[in-house]
Amino acid sequence: MTIRPVHLVALMAVAAGLALFAALSQAQRAVTTAERDLLAAEASIAARLLRDAGGGDRAASLFGGRVSRSPVRDPNAVEVVVDEAVPARATTSVFDADGWDVVGQVVVDEDASRRASLPVSLYALAAVACAALVALATWCVSRAGVCGPSGSLRWPVFTWLAVGVAVAFVPAALAERWAQQSLATVTAQRLAVASRVLAARDDVAALARVPSGILGLTGLRFVPTGTADRDQLLASGLPVQVAQALAGASPAESGHVVVEHVSYATADVASARLILLPYEHVRRPTSSMVAVVALGLLIGVPMIVLSSTIGDARRARRELAAWSFLAPGLLHLAAFTIGPLVFAAWLSLHRWSLVDPARPFVGLENYAALASNAGFWNALLNTAIFTLHVPFSMTLALGLALLVRHPGRSSVVARAAFFLPSITSLVAVAMVWQWMLSDEYGLANAALEAAGLPRVRWLSSPSLALVSIMIVATWTTVGFQTVLFQAGLTAIPRDLYDAARIDGASRWRQFRHVTLPGLRPTLVFVLITSVISSFQVFGTVYVMTQGGPLHATDVAVFHIYEEAWELQRVGSAAAMSWTLFAVIFAVTWLHFRTLEQRAEA
């Protein structure tokens, strides 16, 4: 069957429907996670305040029995976990007074009754409507525009865009509003909990100080009794004193605090720190924006391409066909490579932990901290030293490629043997090398001893461990490079050698003036790819040394891995990884420049 533009755009229509569906589910998800995080925040506040009060039982009573005390590992930490029988749904960290190091964890279950959800029919309706409209517009365009007379494409294009955006916007905006409302509700509840905690401690002094601390929350407003609108959200659980202080009202007045919006704020209360956690979700690109952008891309980009071909139906069809070929690969690249790259930059501007819902924007703080982070510089330096194995292994590979250059059985066997290390499991290879290089019983030391040489502490001495890793890396990569070089060698025309031989050129001169220039593109390719991949070494280090001894083999990727997954400092790890990217980019660019210049000279 012939595939025609109509089929392709019909496919696009389905994709657009799916995109809208995804955007709506994201709105739903934003709310669910926000609620969960806020719930965790409540517990977090409780834990912070109870840390020096020692009132685990009280915490349980405040949270309606959902929280119970668990054995405390750290004497300074209050660790509160829910009953094991209830599935835990949210976690948050308890920080020390600096607000930086994690000293404990709070796990809270989700109260199912409080969970709101979007009606499913809204999703379905929106998705179907969207798909139908796009399909309709597609039909119009393929009818009137692409196949029709020139110029007639213009107004269907505009209609298509306008309608598509409107269709995406309405349900997404509805979802958005609903999301905001449920978020505010939870905040009101959370404020109530915070003040209940203080009241339970009978800490009147602290109670008096709370408001000045959280008055940074500009979204709170005090309204006298009886004047609140019905749809205003009231922090109804607040004791009157707190409510009054919050609003700066006179003590004689009675009333409520209205929640409008809440931002990140901290307050030091009686030797504990009260942190009100922000709605990062609200500040994120909101669901309606996501929907519009996704739909805009899906509909807009092909349309822009098409509209540039107005009046040229054949060209339009060609462009459409090409984009249908490119779509799967490019969409994936956008979603899983370019998007993440940008998102990593955004992450690096935040203090971000996988378990703590507080993710404040910190600007360039993470980058500034890198400047004085000796561990990271050490890791970068180690990576740079490690990269020095590349020229060595390339020289070796070139020699091997020349050895197996000529056809014959021995060459075939040897080539296969060279290739083995680079295709086998890196972990298995690292394991056997660790065993061979072990101090006491390793094969390498046994061989040295048999030859009458002293033993070497391959992996346990800080000065040698990195060299050992470099040896292993050379062993694993040299075969792959050999095959590439060998491919490059076969591309050099034989006549050149014959001519050189007739001119009486020696072996060395042939190599110098025929082989090397002929192999140049391959050399450049291998050099650049090897340097890039050696900047990213991970597996060997992870298995063999875990960065030790004394951080001697702590390379950049391993360091970033630890920062993100062991220390939970995702923002800082993102800053490190962007720095690494910048280094790789600079090195590659320098390579290209110098090599180009030399080629011109």
């Binding site: 090409a322 070929f325 998102f343 499991s425 394991m431 046994a446 062993w475 390719f525």
Partner: protein, 272 residues
């Protein structure tokens, strides 16, 4: 070639091949030794009696069968994804005419410079937000496109004679038809190469599965033996038995397909 230089070449070849194979041989030798036999000085080069029991012991200590299934499913999904995306995008870049072809191609190539670790965290957060962590789909989702594969396919599609496609076009075939029934059958060797490399890359991937999988049941072979390594880190025969088991299927695959691997590398057109 003269006789002495031929002998020299042979000696060097044998030395190089030995250097490549010794770790494998030692892996197998150790895997057959008794737990304490390995700690003799000097170490025995071959076990006094090959202990096949080490294999049974290592394989039952952790659910290795499960690891193999996971790694296989993961790798096959990656192969399928990369074949589809690389073939279509590669064909577009090689043969189809559209605006921004050069720019887009350069953009694709430049993503090769992005270190995996930069996009690792956002990818994890993304997969986590879709609630796909600890699933095969989540594991494979990020690896379905290979820029190298797109490049490889583009190079091979460019070698397909244009006359064939022109003839089909005159007969009224559309671009997808030409792609499917003319061009694609002619680049089968390149597809085979790509499939193999995709399989090997997925099989060898450590960092991503390490992060995305949480439960024992979802681990791949690489993650499995890495954790086996830290659990049994003094029992070398056990470790080496696990290593042999992890390496063997790849070596078998390699034995049958080596031709495609090296041919494919010749084809990538690094000639420039």
């Amino acid at each position: 070639m003269t006789r002495p230089s031929r002998a020299l070449r042979l000696v060097m070849l044998v030395a190089a091949v030995a250097a490549m194979l010794v770790p494998f041989a030692w892996m197998i030798a150790t895997s057959g030794m008794e737990e304490l036999e390995v700690f003799q000085d000097p170490p025995p080069l071959w076990p006094a009696e090959f202990q096949g029991g080490n294999y049974a012991g290592a394989l039952t200590a952790q659910p290795f069968a499960r690891y193999f299934v996971n790694a296989g499913v993961f790798a096959l999904m990656v192969v399928a994804g990369q074949l589809i995306t690389s073939a279509t995008a590669g064909y577009a870049f090689a043969r189809l005419d559209f605006r921004g072809r050069r720019g887009l191609f350069l953009l694709c190539l430049s993503t090769l410079m992005v270190p995996a670790v930069v996009i690792l965290i956002p990818r994890f957060l993304f997969v986590d937000a879709l609630e796909l962590t600890d699933t095969h789909v989540g594991l494979a989702s990020t690896e379905l496109v290979s820029v190298w594969g797109i490049f490889l396919m583009r190079q091979s599609f460019r070698q397909v004679p244009r006359e064939l496609e022109d003839a089909a076009r005159i007969d009224g075939a559309g671009p997808w038809r030409i792609f499917w029934s003319i061009a694609l059958p002619l680049v089968r060797p390149a597809m085979a190469t790509l499939a193999l490399f995709a399989f090997l890359d997925a099989w060898k991937n450590l960092l991503w599965p390490l992060i995305v999988t949480r439960s024992l049941e979802m681990r791949t072979v690489e993650v499995g033996i890495a954790s086996f390594h830290s659990t049994y880190h003094t029992n070398w025969p056990y470790q080496m038995a696990a290593a042999v088991v992890a390496v063997a299927p790849v070596l078998l695959l390699f034995a049958f397909t080596q031709r495609f691997l090296t041919q494919g590398l010749h084809m990538t057109g690094i000639k420039g």
